[in-house]
Every structure is written in C-alpha cells, then in structure tokens.
Symmetry: C2
Subunit: 438 residues, 2 copies
C-alpha cells in the first residue's frame, strides 16, 4: 500500500492498542460464543411464585405429591359402575337409580352401588363404587330418582387418576427452564409458593466519548446525545436482565478506570460502548489492561458491523468494549450478548432452531464480498398469501434511522459472496411482544 | 336422543343459564375477535424514557430537530476537499498538508484549505472547507506535516449529512408502536427524556370454585390448589399487562358479586376463571347479569377446548368468564386475550404474519371431526438439518402436565377433518424469551 519507507508509525493507525492487542487475531463468531460459554451461571435465590414469571429454575422441580391426588371426573355427568352401562344404547337405554349428588370440593358422602348413579360435576371427586362417568349428554331424567343412560362407557372412562398429572417424585420441570405462565400454574398446583431460581444478571452500562452528552442536554455542533445507554438498557430488559445505567464518561483514563472499578464491585458484567473513535477504543483497552489479572479474550470479531469489539475477563466477570455506532452495538448484542445473558441466567440450551428466527423471502440480491460474516438490517413485509418478504435496508454506516425501520437482522455467512433475490432466509427478528393485535 | 316425554327439565343440563344465554348462539373465532375489536385503547400517560421499554406510543413521534445536526465523519481518517484527491491511486498518490486535528465533540478550530487535510475520528465534525473524508487505510504519513493519499474520494464520501438520520418534523415512530431497545436509543438521541404512552392494562384475576384452595394450603381429597390465577397472572406479565390477583372466591352469588364490583372499580378488565363445573359457570353469568347495563357479548365460542367462555361488557370494561380447565383457559388466552390486551395497550396491528407463529412439520396424523376449530398442544423438536417437528401431545382433558410439556398450540381449522403427517403447520409458540443460549 504505497511506499512507507518514510512512515514514522510502523502501524499507521490505530496507533497505541497496547502490546497484547497487536498480536491478537480477530476471532470468528463460533470462537467468541465458545469463549463466552466459559462463564458460569450466577448464584441462586428463592423468590415468591408471584414474582417468578420469566425467571430460570436453578434446580429440577420434583413433584412433592400425586396430582390431582384423588380420582376426578373430567366431565359433567353421572358417576357409575361402568359394567352397569354395558350394552346400553339410544335404542336400548339402561335405567339407573340416582343415589345422590357430589358437591365440588367435597369428599363424596354417597357411594355408587350396583345399578346406581351419582351426579357429579367436572373436577368432582369420584364416589366409592364408581369407576367411570357418563357424560350428561347421554343421561335423561325419567323422574327425580331415575336416569336413563343411552351410552355404554368403559371402566375409568372420563376419570382422571390420582397421579395422572404428576406422580410423587417425578420431574415436573428441569433446572435451567425459564418459567412460562403455565409453569407457574403447575407450580401453584403442586403447592410451591416459593421457587429457587438463578439471579437475574445485573449489567453495568457505561457510555464513553467526549462528544456524548446526557439525553436532556442541548448538543452543540460536534456533540451528540447518549443513544447507546438507552438501547443497551432496553436490550437488557428484553432479555430479563437488570440494566444499571452508570452514566457517561469522558475519554480520560482515570475517570473511566474509576467507573469500571465501581462497576466491577456492583454488577455481574460491564458493557462499555465507545464513542465511535479509535481513541476511545484504545482507552477502553488500556483501562481493562490496568486491572491485575485481566485476561483479554477477544480483540476484534470477524463480523460486519461489529468488528471492533473487545471482550475481557477480570475475576469472574466479563467486560465488553462495544462499538460506538449503535447499529453495530446492536448486532453484537443480538449475536453475542443475548446468549451470554441467557448463560449468566442459567438458561439451558433449547432444542431445535432458535425460536427468534423467522423465515422470509429475500426481496433483492445482497452482495457481500467482505470475507466476514455480515449482518444486514431488514424490514419484514407480509405477503398476501401468508409468509414474509425480507427487504434489506441499506444506508450509511452510523445511521440509527435504518435501525428503527428494521424488523430484524439477516446473516450472510462468511463463505457466501451474497444472497439471491427470492432465496429463503432466516431473519433474527427484533419483535419482543407475543400475540397478535385486533 | 331417547324418549324424554317424562323429562322434567326441558334442557337437560346446563339448567339455569338464564334467559339471555338460552337464546345465544355460539360464536366463531372471527366473530369474537371482531367483538373484542370494539373496545378502545386505555388512556395515556407520560413516563420517563428509562421506564419505557415495551410500552406503546400514544402519539406519533416527530423529530424536533435534524439528527445528527452537523456534518459528521463516518470513518477514521482525514477530512479533505474531494477534488484534491481526484486521480490519486496507489501508484500515483497525492500529497496533502496536515492542517490540524479535530477533537471529538469539538467545533473544528481549523479549516481544510486547498491541498490540506485535517485528521478526524469517526463521529467527528467536518471542518469548514472539507467535503469528504479519506479513510485512514489510504493515508500514509510522510512527515509530521504531510500525508500521502492513495485513493480518490467523491464529494460527500464518508460524510453523514446533518439530516441524514432524521429531518426536523419528520415522523420517527408511529403511534401504536411498542418501544424496542433501538427505539429508546433513537428517542434519547433526539432528546426525549420523557415519552407519551398508553397505560398498561390492569387485569383483575379472580379464581372461583368451592374446590379451589390457596397455593400454600394442603388440599383434602376433592380439593385442588389455585392454578389459574398464577397462569393468567404470568400471561399478563408476558403481554406487558399488570396482573392484579384478586384471590379466590367461593361459588356464592353475594361474595362473587362483591368481588366483581370491586374489580370493576380498580381494574381495566376482569378475568374470572371458573372451577370447572357448570354450576360455577352459571353463577358467573348470573353475577354479570346483575350489573345494570350489562351486555352479554359472547356465550360460548366454537373452539375446542375453550367453548364455555363468556364475555360481557359492563360500562367500558370487558369481563371474561374463562373455562376452569387451565389448558382450556390458556387456549382462550392465546387466541383472544393476547390480541385483546394488545388492543387495550393501543398496539397497532402489524403487517404480515403474526410473529409468534412458527412453521413445523407435523409428526403424525391428527383427527378432528368436531366441526369446531381445534387447538392441539404440540411439542417442538429440532430436526437435524434445521427446521422443527411438531409432535402433538394428547391426554385426558383437564390435565396440566401436557401443558408443561407443550411448546405451543396448533390450530386445526373448522373445515378440516384433520391434519396429515408430514404437513407443514403453523405453531403458535409459548416461548417468551429471545436469543439463543450458550
């Protein structure tokens, strides 16, 4: 690249990335994910069931008892001895004597003897003697004491056995499972008013850069407001982590070091997002290096955007130096910080395709000659017949408006020189809410 | 259905559903969704940006200023007059005089005159005179005052214009948009420290049924613990609503009426989930009917499970009588309460396929001769080559264990008699967290 015999700097720019960094090889996605897999889930805590939605179990949950624990009717009808109904049909009904009725929540005071029927509601406890329930649709009152049954049932028909839902000692939910609404219900059904879960990760967020101002200030030309703190904070909430906004920090070693030191004391992981200049990135690295025992894990990732990412370990905590451009920081967040937070949260790997990817048809060719894995922002547009079209959004690097327009990210693998119009692609989508709208 | 000349009850059972109910036709899904669409979004509130993740904008957000508001470099390099670089190449570089350097966040103190270059970082403000930035990779220092430029740039290359991201007055985000991480960032960038959003729906949840006990109690035979309050509460949280657990209520008119009255005063919508018996359902309806101006909107939905669902309107509030079986209540929640909450939250309809559906291949035939729309619980299993298999989970009605095993629901349309093994189906999946795991 030209004659540099007279060049004063052996590495033109970035200049002072420190000796460690100079010899560091840029890593690819798989390597970085493997490195992040070296961090361990956080400690456990016991919380009340009402607060447990979305939390991750830190222990297997075993059933402390049989559920439902008694023989229950699964329909409204009459509890009978099944053999009393054998052979009955619409044209040849059998007649049974009504022996009584079972109130909800009660132990039956009556029993179903031979030729007898006991009125029972869904969920009611089966009376002694009965081994099945005839649905009300097949029963007709003849008089106050007699019903006509027009259908034969088999033994145990419409009966839930005491351990049909869970047998005492069986595993109800596995360690590492994030609690969904129905899981809370099952835990309530088994009598767990408290539950053991992993702690939620506390994420310290620091924005750096001399040009960055607080949201409520009026920037002068050359200055911008802090975008990344809010973006990363929202991202943490989306992932079930606890964001701790540690504010802005100017590009000065002492103040940044002091801020990082404070963050290491009070949070589980620290995310610095640089002003976008090389100078800020260098400073971040110097600050990390100033902590004894610091281990530089990643210095550069072969993805675009997102390359200038630094990951270090101090003690048992991961520190991230993220790109200053919000769009680049978001790519790093989606690709690496999401699974990293899941890891800290103790979430177990799930089978199958990651659920946050969705298939779509690409609307135009995408070129990618970078030799790096590329992430392209896309807008998803519904096709008339169902299915989605992914429309790539291109724009100058450093813009945030395309990020607002985008519904997700599309990955172009390293070994592909591009993607073709009409190809089916997987989109990592940003949407956080479930359920449709009216 | 048999000889019922002697039958004392003209409608065998359910008996006392009230006069209104008797003449009510069961409605199908589309009709119910249309009815729910008649409810209006809740009022607005102004909240601080830090608390705004997931909230829904109640107004269009217009840009109060140009963003970034000044001409910015999108790379690290040298700001120059583009025409000074015309014709330059690796073999024939041009030489430019270094006129100075621009600090981050500063208004440049130097200008780029003819034949001059000013060192600039990513995000730095362009100096007067310059109309482009040469990336650092194409610049070499010859001495302290001179660089060699080995690439021609065009005017405005690597420059972000003052209104490239947003032009003053342009729409940044539309009313009805749920705020994602990057949206918070953009709002911060534009100086919004507060934001106008719709109120989160407050959902009153009441469990009814004589057989239902609190979670921390020890049920006797015939009794069960309250499962639905916890399931529905978790569901509300998942949807961004505020669950208010109003506790258990015995099957007595006065106490249930009092509870509903209290709920109407303090919440935006009331969800009662019955014990599973017909008696409880009747009571719910009677209580609803006792409020002046009550309008019964839905009495029965032609879906399975979930048929015995009641929807009423009292004032401007919707009251739901949900099935007692948790699995049935969950189907109603996924199909109707999710879009209803989105409606109350002011969320605008989204284009394209609902994002919470995912394609999978059906593992076996499903029969469905009911003539109703059916919802089958399925487990999703990853295929080796990518893609998912949907494995239907069958089990007795009233079990909750299959709900824990399930990853989602599969809809069998009313006009289908079943689905075939190998068919591609859409699964409404339960998963709430995004991002993979390590």
């Amino acid at each position: 690249m030209g004659n540099n015999l007279l060049t004063r700097d052996p590495i033109p720019w970035p200049e002072g990335e420190g000796l460690i960094a100079v010899f560091f090889k840029v890593k690819d996605r798989e390597e970085v994910l493997e490195i992040l897999g070296g961090f361990q889930p956080l400690g456990e805590e016991s919380i009340s069931l009402e607060k447990a939605f979305g939390r991750v179990l830190s222990k297997d949950v075993l059933s402390p008892e049989d559920l439902p624990g008694f023989r229950r009717s699964s329909v409204d009808g009459y509890a009978v001895r099944a053999k009393d109904t054998f052979g009955s049909s619409e044209s040849l009904p059998v007649f049974l004597e009504i022996a009584g009725e079972i109130g909800m929540g009660e132990v039956p005071g009556v029993r179903a003897g031979e030729g007898q029927a006991v009125k029972i509601s869904t969920g009611g406890m089966l009376p002694e003697g009965a081994d099945g329930v005839v649905m009300v649709e097949y029963c007709h009152h003849l008089d106050e004491r007699t019903i006509e049954v027009s259908k034969a049932i088999s033994p145990e028909e419409n009966v839930i056995q005491p351990d049909d839902d869970f047998r005492k000692g069986s595993r109800v939910l596995p360690k590492g499972h994030p609690l969904r609404p129905q899981d809370l219900g099952v835990l309530a059904g088994l009598g767990f008013s408290r539950v053991d879960v992993y702690r939620r990760p506390k994420v310290g967020i620091i924005s750096t850069g001399d040009e960055v101002l607080p949201v409520d200030s009026k920037p002068l030309p050359g200055q911008v407001r802090d975008i990344n703190s809010y973006t990363l904070s929202g991202f943490c909430e989306q992932m079930g982590a606890v964001p701790i906004m540690m504010g802005l920090c100017k590009d000065r070693f002492e103040s940044l070091r002091e801020r990082v030191e404070r963050g290491l004391e009070s949070t589980d992981t620290l995310w610095l997002s640089g002003g976008s200049s090389v100078g800020t990135r260098d400073l971040t690295l110097k600050v990390f290096e100033s902590f004894p025992g610091m281990e530089l894990l990643v210095h550069g990732i072969s993805i675009s955007p997102g390359k200038p990412t630094i990951i270090a370990r101090i003690g048992d905590k991961a520190l991230f130096g993220l790109p200053g451009h919000t769009a680049s920081a978001m790519v790093v967040a989606e690709v690496f910080l999401a699974p990293f937070l899941a890891r800290l949260s103790g979430e177990r790997p799930q089978e199958g395709t990651p659920y946050h990817e969705i298939e779509a048809e690409l609307s135009r060719n995408i070129e990618s000659a970078s030799g790096r894995e590329e992430y392209v922002r896309v807008k998803l547009i519904g096709k008339g017949e169902g299915g989605l079209i992914a429309e790539p959004l291109f724009g100058k690097s450093g813009l945030i408006s395309t990020l607002v327009e985008a519904d997700g990210l599309l990955r172009v693998e390293k070994n592909r020189e591009g993607l073709y119009q009409g190809e089916t692609v997987n989109v990592m989508f940003f949407q956080q809410k479930r359920g449709g709208t009216l």
